[in-house]
């Protein structure tokens, strides 16, 4: 993007769009609530009025969950693509989401009475485990291509999903887990989303603080060293941000895929390759994308809901196929 003025214009535009769609989100659903009713609910808090109750205890947590999940996956994806210099990198494709789900399942089996925070931290550990797997796999081979890494990620993802599913059936926690991992944010409660949000903010701050260095890394390792970056420290901080963001987002919404893949590409197309801009704009676009996806999920087959993950996959798969088969991406 040519100038900071254009960037701020785009930011204002996106924020307005987000605000309008958020209000629309609060009004639509099984029970239509007029805009005035939404405003009333936001001011009054949780009262006995049915419209207030629906808006405050069902819709608002869900809205927050959509925003949190969108911005987290998108920023995590942007960091991963920047650090690894791999256009196909993203939390779902490299198996981090599946690892986080595995962590959640493990927490439910080992510590059935665990608090929300313990469960979230266990999701971080699962995500870290998957990342470690990928790093080991990447170190086993020379001359790695983006396509190989993506394939290795899907294989790691398949391993974690298989183990998770078998554990879940074996220990009979399918009901508890499907609440987390069905790839939807329908049943989320205010307490849960408020418990996750501090992590989201922490992850976002970490991402912003490392964004300048990520720009250096995205030029390639040699360039980054030449420009005075400390590679291992940048990687560690970016990796930590990815784990926190992706892990907490999976705890909110389940392994919703493709947001972290699609959004950074669109963002870079619009604001350029400076990650000081890419990170915050990815957050905005990500929140917007998941918000729209969840509106679609709720309104296509009323009264039924399509899982959020299916909607994002329908957008993400064609995009992924396009990216993976471009000429520049070598096999």
């Amino acid at each position: 993007m040519a100038s900071t003025r254009n960037a701020s214009l785009l930011a204002v535009l996106l924020l307005v769009l987000l605000a309008v769609l958020s209000l629309f989100f609060l009004t639509t659903g099984m029970r239509e609530i007029p805009l005035s009713g939404v405003m009333h609910a936001l001011q009054a808090g949780s009262s006995q009025d049915p419209s207030d109750l629906v808006a405050w205890t069902l819709r608002l947590p869900r809205l927050l969950a959509a925003l949190v999940c969108g911005l987290s996956f998108a920023v995590a994806g942007a960091l991963m693509q920047g650090v690894t210099n791999n256009p196909l990198a993203s939390p779902s494709i490299l198996g981090i989401n599946a690892g986080a789900s595995f962590g959640l399942a493990l927490a439910m089996i080992v510590l059935p009475a665990a608090s929300l925070q313990v469960t979230i931290i266990s999701a971080f550990f699962g995500a870290a485990l998957a990342t470690a797997f990928i790093l080991v796999l990447a170190s086993l081979k020379h001359g790695l291509t983006p396509v190989y890494i993506a394939l290795a990620g899907t294989a790691v993802s398949a391993v974690f999903m298989a183990v998770t599913q078998v554990l879940v059936v074996f220990f009979d926690v399918a009901q508890e887990l499907s609440y987390w991992t069905a790839g939807g944010i329908g049943g989320i409660r205010m307490a849960s989303i408020l418990g996750v949000m501090p992590w989201t903010i922490l992850g976002l701050l970490l991402a912003v603080s490392v964004s300048r260095s990520v720009t250096l890394l995205s030029f390639g390792e040699d360039m980054a060293i030449g420009l005075g970056g400390k590679l291992s420290r940048i990687r560690l901080r970016a990796g930590l941000a990815v784990l926190i963001l992706a892990g907490s987002a999976v705890a909110v919404a389940g392994p919703v895929g493709f947001v972290g893949l699609v959004v950074p590409h669109i963002t870079r197309r619009l604001v350029g390759i400076d990650y000081r801009l890419v990170v915050p704009f990815s957050a905005l676009f990500g929140a917007l994308l998941v918000l729209v996806a969840d509106i679609v999920a709720r309104t296509v087959f009323p009264p039924f809901e399509i899982p959020l993950g299916a909607v994002t996959a329908l957008v993400g798969v064609p995009f992924f196929l396009y990216l993976a088969n471009r000429k520049e991406v070598r096999g």
Partner: protein, 333 residues
Amino acid sequence: MGNRRYLATLLTLAALLTGLFFLHLATGFHYFTKAHLIGVLLGGGTPEEVLTVFDFRMVRSILAVLIGMGLAVSGAVFQTISKNELASPSLLGVNAGAALGVMLLIYGTPQATGLGIWEQPLAAVIGGGLAAGLVFFLSHQRGRMTSTYKLVLNGIAVTAGLHALQILLIVGLDPTRFQQINTWLIGSIFGNSWTHVDILFLVVLLITFFFLASHETLDLLALREENALGLGIRVNRTRFLFLMAAVVLASSCVAVGGSIGFIGLICPHIARRLVGVAHKRYLPVTALLGGVLLVAADYTARVIIAPDEMLVGLIVSLIGAPYFLYILVRSRG
């Protein structure tokens, strides 16, 4: 490798398959002792026992063998034709396409009219064929060999998209049909009849013999393209023919047994290490391995959380996913 070692491998696998088959047959809610089971098989036993052994268990045991064999042989042919040791029906979208085909059929049929026995496999074959066609089309690059990794990655992506479409369809289903579809999707060999056995037996037998009869052609197709051309094969036409036969084989298995992944990936790989790449030997060993693996997996699925059952597709992917990773790490792009 010598003939004797090949024969020994073949006999060992056949013995293993027979042993597992009887173990599978004996196991269930009611366990039969060896002597008792043989008695029932030879025409003894109460009517209830005969019903249990022949109509419930044997259908399931035979289907497990047939589906395992079919998926494994199909995988072997996929790998030969694409010259890609990571290719297999499930990774190239055939399972997901077949599943979507069957779902669309169930979705479009009014509940009162039952499905004809041939309709389900036919829908599966069309769906599986279209999905595989799409994956190969996307991966085809003019004038260049299709990259090993790209082919599989495209297959996985197409599979993800097809799954999303399946979910979309499921949301619109009523609960009974949902149950029907859901059990079938994850992969269960339970609840089929002798008619299923007859049809699948015919399909698996015919196509496997077709491949075996053309083992020399398959050997040539595994060579570099120029060599095969030089030896007088119309490469593209032959390839397409074999590919379609492999898709029909895998899709029929999916139509009966639900989506079971990884068998078509693992078994050809192990078979190659056991007996080498000549299809005359490679295909029979692959088929036997497929039968052994699926019967063993289905047996495990039955006993691991008895009296409940684990879905067999889960057991297979528990072994299959790590093995996929192992092949990937060892492979060359």
